[in-house]
Every structure is written in structure tokens, then in C-alpha cells.
């Protein structure tokens, strides 16, 4: 596709993709024109811009309708407060990169994180053209040699960048170190930041400290987000909640504003089984859950509006899936539906509409999320 990913997969056929893409390509073109006009109105350059219009209702609307693909990374960085953070953390990234080379007892990276990063590098977007190693170069030049004798192709440059960013981040935030799913997040950041490692590092820091605090920590708190989501689900989509609820809902609701016990001892409130399908929604920020274009649109708003985006998108997924969920009795089948549902949600405009409709989840604002976490 336009980002180097495969168009079709187990969940979306090539025909479905093409049918959607024809209209969506025109849609991107229309939005692009609007963005150009907006940028010009603010006297901003449109050729590889790094500055974007100040936040306003209008700009928020524009972002919700999608940032032009070629500006995405820069706009994410801008609206997430990247430039300010970068100014405060001048040189930090490259210093970390240098320190990573040292042994652990001299302030370098520990072997476990190093090894875990290495293990996942080649497992990050293996189907994306930028992450694939170049095919062995011109086999014709050496007709005698057999395929087995060709050396392993070198890693593509973006994998080397990914390695450095993940290592530097692990060193920078020892509470997290390296957590699986960060490979996907950092990989997608690099893809859209034209492999600017320092900016990818800054945004990774924003995501893990501002948007998803604790979620990736060594003592995993991913279930805090899920607990909040289940709360919201019960309030906003009671029919869906009733179908998935297989635990004691009373357990689920610790006193507002309080985090559950860290970790997941037996004292942890019981979440309905189906909620476990949503772990990657938060940890991977919908990568691998939603089709790539839908994921990118979520990220557009995430960096502009904050983590409430994740909760509202999640609710929208359940809302759109409500008919299929309610059609099923068997709780394990419901799990499969919830697991599979978002992977087919190619029509991101419909998803976003459900997500942002004021009548729908308008009350799910950032203050509410922060309080319930």
C-alpha cells in the first residue's frame, strides 16, 4: 500500500481493500487540499513542514479527519509538544546511544533488554517493505554460487535505527526497559518520521509517560487502562457489557481515582474474559488490531487530543460491533468476535464518526480518564 504494508491479509481481501481504497484515495486528496489552504492561511510552509497551526476547534476537526500522510510524523511531533521536549532534552538521545555501547556496570544497557530487543527486531512489521532485508543483490552477477552460499542480507537501515531507539529508550526509562509492543510503536514512528531517531525517541517517551503511564512498566499495569475501559463500556453500552460480563461487576470498580494494586495478584479486580482481547489495543496503540490506515488516523488524534482518543475509539469499536456481539450467546465466541472485529474495520471514517459523535461518547473526556486511572 502507500506505506509499504501489504494490502490484504487474513481479514481483508485484496478486493475489499481496493474497493475501499479508490474512494479513500480521493478522500485523502480532498483533505490534503484543505490542509494546504489551512497552512497557507497561517503562513506556514507546505513543503516538508515542521510547524503546524495552533490548536483550535477547526484544527482539531481537521486532525480528526486525517493529517496528510506525508506530514503525519511531523504533525504528530508538533502537536505532542515534541519541539519543547526536544529542547529540554537536547543531546540526551545521542548520549544514551553512546552509553548503550558500554557494559552494564559502566552505565550501559543490561544484557536482558539488549537480547529481548534483538529478538524482536526482525519480528517488527516483517511484511513492510522498509523493514524487510533487501533481497540478495543480483544473483546474476555470480551465477555459480548457490542460494545457500549468499551471505545473510544486511539489516535494512530502519532496523538499525529501531535497534538504537529501543536500546536508548530502555536505558532512559529503566522502569520500562524494553517491553514487547514498543517495537511496533517505535517502528511506526520511525516510518513516519523519516527515520529521525531522536524525534521517534521523544515521541516514545511522550507515549509512555503522558498517554500510557505505567502500561508498559516491568510491573505491568496494562489492566488499569482495561479496567477504565470496562467501566466506560458498562456506562455507555450496557447491552454490550451485559453480553461480555462474566465476572462480578462489583469487583471491577475500585474507588474512583484510585489505582488498583500494582501487578496482578489474586486481589486484582476480576475483569471479564473478553476484556483481555483489548490488551494490545492499548499496549500497541491499535497496531495490528486496526488496519494500518485506521491506526494512523487514531494516532493523528491521539497526539493532538491525548489518551481519551484510545478510550473513545475502543468504545466506538464495541459500538460498531454491538450487533454482532449481541447476536452471540457463547462467551468464548464473543471473545473471538471482539478479537477479530477491529481487524476488519477498514472504513476508518465510519469508525471516527462513531468515535467523535458528541451524542455518543462526548462525556468521555481527558479529565474523566485521568481521574479514573
Amino acid at each position: 500500500d502507500r506505506y509499504g504494508f501489504k494490502k490484504s491479509n487474513q481479514y481483508i481481501s485484496k478486493a475489499e481493500y481496493d474497493a475501499w481504497n479508490t474512494n479513500y484515495t480521493q478522500y485523502i486528496e480532498r483533505r490534503r487540499k484543505k490542509w494546504y489552504a489551512l497552512m497557507r492561511a497561517y503562513g506556514l510552509m507546505t513543503d516538508d513542514p515542521i510547524r503546524f497551526p495552533p490548536k483550535s476547534e477547526k484544527v482539531k476537526r481537521y486532525v480528526r479527519k486525517g493529517i496528510p500522510p506525508e506530514w503525519r510524523g511531523a504533525a504528530w511531533f508538533w502537536y505532542a509538544g515534541g519541539p519543547g521536549r526536544l529542547a529540554r532534552m537536547q543531546g540526551v538521545y545521542w548520549e544514551l546511544v553512546r552509553r548503550c555501547e558500554k557494559p552494564e556496570d559502566e552505565g550501559g544497557l543490561n544484557d536482558a533488554d539488549r537480547e529481548h530487543i534483538e529478538r524482536d527486531l526482525h519480528r517488527t512489521f516483517p511484511d513492510n517493505i522498509s523493514f524487510k532485508p533487501d533481497p540478495p543483490t543480483t544473483p546474476l552477477s555470480s551465477p555459480e554460487s548457490s542460494p545457500e552460499s549468499w551471505p545473510d542480507p544486511p539489516d535494512p537501515p530502519i532496523l538499525n535505527s529501531l535497534r538504537r531507539v529501543l536500546r536508548a529508550f530502555a536505558l532512559h526509562n529503566p522502569q520500562i526497559g524494553y517491553c514487547q509492543s514498543l517495537n511496533f510503536i517505535a517502528g511506526l514512528l520511525l516510518l513516519f518520521l523519516k527515520s529521525d531517531e531522536e524525534k521517534a525517541f521523544i515521541l516514545l517517551d511522550v507515549i509512555t509517560s503522558v498517554h500510557l503511564p505505567g502500561t508498559h512498566a516491568r510491573v505491568l499495569e496494562a489492566n488499569v487502562d482495561i479496567g477504565v475501559l470496562m467501566d466506560l463500556l458498562r456506562e455507555h453500552l450496557p447491552a454490550v457489557w451485559n453480553r461480555i460480563d462474566d465476572g462480578d461487576p462489583a469487583d471491577l470498580n475500585p474507588a474512583p481515582g484510585k489505582r488498583g494494586a500494582p501487578g496482578l495478584g489474586p486481589a486484582q479486580p476480576r475483569l471479564p474474559t473478553v476484556s483481555l482481547a483489548t490488551t494490545p489495543w492499548f499496549m500497541s496503540l491499535f497496531i495490528g488490531t486496526l488496519p494500518i490506515e485506521s491506526t494512523l488516523r487514531v494516532w493523528d488524534s491521539l497526539f493532538y487530543e491525548g489518551s481519551k482518543t484510545l478510550f473513545r475509539v475502543s468504545l466506538a469499536i464495541f459500538k460498531l460491533g454491538e450487533p454482532s456481539i449481541r447476536a452471540i450467546e457463547d462467551p468464548m465466541e464473543v471473545f473471538q468476535v471482539v478479537q477479530t472485529l477491529p481487524r476488519k474495520m477498514l472504513d476508518v471514517n465510519m469508525l471516527m464518526e462513531a468515535c467523535w459523535k458528541r451524542k455518543g461518547f462526548g462525556s468521555v473526556n481527558q479529565e474523566l480518564i485521568d481521574e479514573r486511572r
Binding site: T124, G288, P331
Partner: protein, 243 residues
């Protein structure tokens, strides 16, 4: 909940909750992908949280529907594992035959399951990536009833990436009363056999129709449940898991 599907089936059908545990990147998801879709993907993406899949397995006198929980391998996800192995009737604990460390991790999982999971849970220890061993050290199908006896003492050779001798893992499995297989999700070797063996090993008494909600909670403390390496006694070529 539906007491039974109501549709007359030739064989009684029952659900078995099965959980996969093991270190990251040993091939848990790949084993499931081979078993469920008969497919393999190089550099499979790491699993975040867990994935849920189902697959049927036909035995001569009954049909088993596996409800498979494929968990994330990284250490920090281990705190989530009890939610997945709670009420599980079977567990597949996977290690990578080229990574001794992963067998140690597998042994930890076995110990935790024996301590915390349902009594009578059927545990299979599975050494994956057997295709990376030199041909001599990986028994071909039909060499032996349970597929691991032959060549257990094969000499290491240089092209052999195997670091965990079959003998060592097998001895451990015997001691703990686990099913034991060496598999390759890549070639498909012995993948279906693992699931078939587990299906055979589940005691009849713990099978309760299509499903007890949330898994069966009334598993008897059935000592016969931990089957030994004698393994599937009657695994014929006709039956077996769809694969």
C-alpha cells in the same frame, strides 16, 4: 448458556481449554498457527497480551474442541498468565531446542502450573524449532511411537543448532509426568501429534459437554490425568486433529 448445541453429532463433543506458555520467541504462536491454519510465517510478530483460537480434534470416540489461549512470552506478561491458565485442562509449555535458557523457563512454568493450575491439568512439554537441529538429531516420523526415542543420543555436529539434547528434556518430562514432543512449527513435524496426544490424555471425567462457563471448575483430582510418555496408545493414521 447453551447446554448443548442440540444438533445431533456422530460423536460427543467437548471443549478443552488449553493454554500455551513459554519464553518469548520460542514459537508458541507459530505452533498454534500450524495447528489451526496449517500455515507458517517466518519472523512472526510477538504476541501482545494473548490471542484466542479454536480448533477441533477428532478422536475415535469423541470430538475435542480446543479453546487455545496463546499467551505473550515476555517476562512482564507472566503476571497475566494466571488469568489464562485458570481452569485450563491442558497446557503446552514450549521451549526452543536451540536456547537452553528457554528450557529453564519452561521448567518454571511447569512448576507454577503444578502448584497453581487445576489439579489434573495435562501438561505437554514441547521443544520447538526441531528443524534447526541437524537431520540426525531429529527423529523422522515413524521412527518411534512417541517420536523422541530415536537418536536421543545423536552426536552434536557442527551444523547443528540444537543446544538442548532430547535426552535431557525427555528425562525431565518423564520425571514430572509430562507429555513430551519435539516439534517444528516450520515443517509441521509432530505439531498435530502433540494436540492429539493431549486430547487422548484428557480424562473422560473432566469433559463436560460443550462447555462449563469459564472453564470447568470441578475437575476431579484424577491421578490418571498426568499421562506418561507412553503417550497416545492408539494414535492411528486415520484419526487426529485437523491440521
Amino acid at each position: 448458556m447453551a447446554e448443548s448445541t442440540g444438533t445431533p453429532t456422530p460423536r460427543p463433543s467437548s471443549s478443552v481449554k488449553l493454554v500455551l506458555l513459554g519464553e518469548a520467541a520460542v514459537g508458541k504462536s507459530s505452533l498454534v498457527m500450524r495447528f489451526v491454519n496449517n500455515d507458517f510465517q517466518e519472523n512472526k510478530e510477538p504476541t501482545i497480551g494473548a490471542a484466542f483460537l479454536t480448533q477441533k480434534c477428532n478422536l475415535p470416540n469423541r470430538t475435542i474442541k480446543f479453546e487455545i489461549w496463546d499467551t505473550a512470552g515476555q517476562e512482564r506478561f507472566a503476571s497475566l498468565a494466571p488469568m489464562y491458565y485458570r481452569n485450563a485442562q491442558a497446557a503446552l509449555v514450549v521451549y526452543d531446542i536451540t536456547k537452553p535458557q528457554s528450557l529453564t523457563k519452561a521448567q518454571h512454568w511447569v512448576a507454577e502450573l503444578q502448584r497453581q493450575a487445576s489439579p489434573g491439568i495435562v501438561i505437554a512439554l514441547v521443544g520447538n524449532k526441531a528443524d534447526l537441529a541437524s537431520p540426525g538429531s531429529f527423529p523422522a516420523p515413524g521412527d518411534d511411537a512417541d517420536g523422541v526415542e530415536a537418536n536421543a543420543d545423536a552426536e552434536q555436529d557442527e551444523s547443528d543448532a540444537r543446544k538442548v539434547p532430547t535426552r535431557e528434556a525427555k528425562a525431565y518430562a518423564e520425571e514430572e509426568g509430562l507429555l513430551f514432543y519435539e516439534t517444528s512449527a516450520k515443517t509441521g513435524q509432530y505439531v498435530a501429534e502433540v494436540f492429539t496426544a493431549i486430547a487422548h490424555a484428557i480424562p473422560e471425567s473432566s469433559l463436560k459437554g460443550p462447555r462449563g462457563v469459564g472453564g470447568q471448575t470441578n475437575l476431579g483430582r484424577d491421578d490418571g490425568a498426568r499421562v506418561n510418555l507412553a503417550g497416545p496408545r492408539e494414535t492411528g493414521p486415520k484419526e487426529g486433529c485437523a491440521c
